[in-house]
């Protein structure tokens, strides 16, 4: 889609005559990836779009109340969830930039949620939130004598918990990336500002933020694309429930797929495209320079 061919890429007829042996090797070495790309990206995407061509699918989708709810949930996830996550990541990148042995140790532990698989940890959270047996409500009962809320039974609370799980899982990665950006800022700037008597906010406002702004925005956009593809946080915590009210577009697509309604599954994904494509276009422009 947003693929750009430079002028030199345009082939002219006597190809073999123009190519030097290294270039023949070049094509041969590129072939395995091209095959994978054609077989498992081009063909499926083309086939999927072909399946989603019927207007009737979109009418059916529009009439399914679960779809409207999933679209709203997806927006909440993106707007609230990602901004909370990225702001915490920005803040914590400043914390982890402090040179202390114990902070270095903490950073080694902090990466664990990202390195370990989703399913056991999300299921662990799921059990913690169990209204009767979960440790959270048992502690609430112990200290207050009252029963705690049924965390995953109220759609708004359940969605908030799913966002929490998403943040838990992906915060380390973004903190690490922003930390890399922060460490690239010249130390002299901070030393000079110390001499001028700048406080921490002034340092952030006039040194840190201007240097990290672009990186921060890029990370936020990339995180939006990936969050759209995050199936685990919602599916493993709530399964889309209660009463299918916590679905997001990714779990909804898979739900239709499991119900053998493939054209609906594709249509629900195509509905996200007006949103995804500008993001992808912007990211490609930024990264393929």
């Amino acid at each position: 889609m947003a693929i750009t061919l430079s002028a030199s890429d345009t082939p002219s007829p006597p190809l073999s005559a123009r190519l030097s042996p290294p270039q023949v090797w070049g094509i041969a070495l590129l072939a395995p990836y091209l095959l994978v790309f054609l077989a498992f990206v081009v063909y499926p995407v083309g086939y999927g779009l072909w399946l989603a061509r019927q207007p009737s699918s979109y009418v059916a989708l529009y009439n399914d109340p679960i779809f409207a709810r999933a679209a709203i949930n997806t927006l909440i996830f993106l707007v609230i969830g990602i901004n909370i996550k990225m702001l915490i990541a920005l803040f914590l990148s400043g914390f982890f930039a402090q040179q202390r042995p114990w902070i270095r140790w903490l950073s080694v532990i902090f990466i664990l949620p990202w390195a370990v698989p989703s399913i056991p940890t999300i299921l662990s959270v799921r059990f913690m939130l169990n209204p009767e047996w979960g440790v959270v409500n048992q502690l609430i009962f112990k200290f207050t004598g009252d029963d705690g809320p049924n965390w995953l039974n109220d759609p708004a609370v359940a969605l908030a918990m799913a966002i929490g799980v998403h943040i838990w899982k992906s915060l380390p990665f973004w903190t690490l990336i922003l930390l890399t950006g922060r460490l690239a800022i010249s130390h002299d700037l901070y030393e000079a500002s110390d001499v001028d008597g700048a406080n921490w906010w002034q340092k952030f406002r006039y040194i840190t933020w201007p240097s990290m702004q672009t990186l921060y925005i890029t990370c936020t956009l990339l995180s939006m694309i990936w969050t759209l593809g995050d199936f685990n946080s919602v599916y493993l915590l709530t399964g889309g429930g209660p009463a299918d009210l916590t679905h997001v577009l990714s779990t909804l697509g898979i739900r239709y797929l499991r119900l053998d309604q493939l054209s609906l599954a594709m249509a629900s994904i195509v509905c996200a495209m007006p949103f995804v494509l500008p993001l992808v276009y912007f990211m490609m422009k930024r990264l393929s320079r």
Binding site: I3, T4, S8, P22, Q23, W25, G26, I27, L29, L30, P32, Y33, V36, F37, V41, Y43, P44, V45, Y47, G48, F95, Q98, I109, F110, L112, P113, A115, V116, P117, I119, P120, T121, L123, S124, V125, F127, M128, V135, N137, Q138, W168, L176, T180, T218, W226, L228, G229, D230, F231, N232, L236, S250, G253, I254, M266, I269, V280, M283, M284, S288
Partner: protein, 283 residues
Amino acid sequence: MKLPTLREVGTEAKLLLIGIPVFIWTMIPIYHMFVFAISPKEDAFTGKLWPTHPTLHNFSIVFNQQHYFLRDFWIQFWNSTVIALAVGALTLFVATAAAFSISRLRVPGGRAVMNMALFTYFIPAAFLAVPMYRTMGTYGLLNNHWSLILAMVTIAAPYAIWVLKQASDKLPVELDEAATMDGATTLQLFRLVYVPLMMPSLVAVGTYAILLAWNEYLYAFLLLSKDTDITLPVALGNFLAADDSPWELLMTTGFIYALPPAAVYYAFKRYMVGGLTAGAVKS
């Protein structure tokens, strides 16, 4: 010994005020899983922060496959291992060849291929899963390990190519020129000059692909279904289907399943952080 000033103590206290909640937040689900794994069945549901009688009994049940849900534990562990290693090897092969071709041989159309790869990298994984599931059916690969391996290579390769291309571009051109002057063929250049110099990035990318495949749930759950074909995460997901799931065994199995990626990550941390963050977002 120099005593810390009041100001230094204050700074340290403020940092601890951030550090302690961060530690607790990070560890809670993992710790909870661990406590469950070492708790006897009757202790597991009482919400204790540490079991009265910690035991390794759950591990023995899992390792000896002594529960209905765990009949195929070892074969599922083996499936996960084989698939992860195959994905690592294939991704490395595909991506190294492509990065060498694009960056060093400047093959015509290389730039377009980079853009295509980048485009794949930006397709949300769960979105691609829908048409990919159907495609695997068309190719007759459903319920075959190859479907999961090829799907994971498709997902891992774009990022791998991209990280490797960034690293390749940093190698000086003079190396290739000198080797060619000495009469090296393209293949020798690849094998004797390029691959050895790229080793740190290759380790990073290979580890990334292995972890990605080991940790994957969605594609594994869609593409494989027979009890003896599925990987560990799918088996864990299947625990949920029952009303009376043995949660202590589920958490024990989950803990065992989470250990290898954590170990691999720490073993290759040095390579991964440098190699992958450099490639992840070019600032």
